[in-house]
């Protein structure tokens, strides 16, 4: 790939904006918060961040907010990720490796179904067992 300039980046953004206007607004108000404290970094949170971005890109979900925070207090199950989707309980997922990150996008974000075996905090047990439904 040729070395991009800031001008190239601006043009790409304009192009993306036009594409977005043609599509629906899936993903708006959805948020993925990745724990990037010392514990998260040590457990591979950078790879999880990269996997979330690649999968969201592959699924054309440009509107989903992806942000970082420090340690969420669950160092034993890093990388940890909070997922906020309107109409669903806020969930903190643990042990979010690359494959789990991709699964969270495909299941939780796209189909509104929780990835139950990685839920570590927030919803009550009975909710988790029913896959969030």
């Amino acid at each position: 790939m040729a070395k991009m300039t800031l001008e190239d980046l601006r043009n790409l953004r304009e192009q993306k904006k036009k594409d977005l206007q043609k599509r629906d607004t899936t993903g708006k108000n959805m948020q993925i918060v990745i724990g990037m404290g010392t514990c998260g970094i040590a457990a591979g949170a950078k790879k999880s961040l990269d996997a979330f971005l690649s999968e969201l890109d592959a699924q054309n979900l440009d509107n989903v907010a992806v942000t970082q925070t420090g340690c969420m207090g669950l160092c034993y199950v890093e990388p940890t990720v909070e997922v906020i989707v309107p109409g669903m309980p806020n969930v903190i997922y643990g042990q979010v490796d690359v494959e789990t990150a991709r699964k969270i996008v495909r299941e939780h974000i796209m189909r509104q179904r929780m990835v139950s075996d990685h839920v570590y905090d927030r919803p009550a047990a009975d909710i988790i067992q029913n896959g969030g439904k």
Partner: protein
Amino acid sequence: MHAAVTDFLLDIIQNSIEAEAAVVTVVFNQTETVLECSITDDGKGITPEELNQIQDPFYTDGSKHSARKVGLGVPFLFQAAEAAEGKVTIHSEKGKGTECRFSFNPKHIDCPPLGDIPGTFLAAISYPGDHELIIERSLFRAGEKSSYEVSRLELIEAVGSLSTAGSLNLVKLFLHSQEDSVMDPG
């Protein structure tokens, strides 16, 4: 313990951001015999006494997690650098800022792998806040220098807020193109 050199780098950059710096400058120089990084900020700084304390893994000021008794970021860096004929020096002045420099000998058997360089820069740039983050990356190989420089605020000006997947993926593409140009200047 961190797995890669870039993990240490990201951890230290976050310290600068959390010290309420307005400008953080990261220099990442790589030659065939040494890997050198410096992270300089104009944040709140620490006293000589605190500088001594943060090298102890069982010290924390308690501001982030009130019940926690450890602070591992900086001690991890000292431990890894010492194991690989590296060096860490930190200069800090209360109210003025901090400079952390570290180096590794890339040929030492205990030198950690470099890790994902553009992925680390992306994580550092997208860490929330209003600060500027300037990254100067250079690689010296066979007498030739190749380098690039990125500015967080310039990227925000070009792609908008760095909080959505769309804008982050554009920055990711940009950073990979910069890194590719250094790795394969041909």
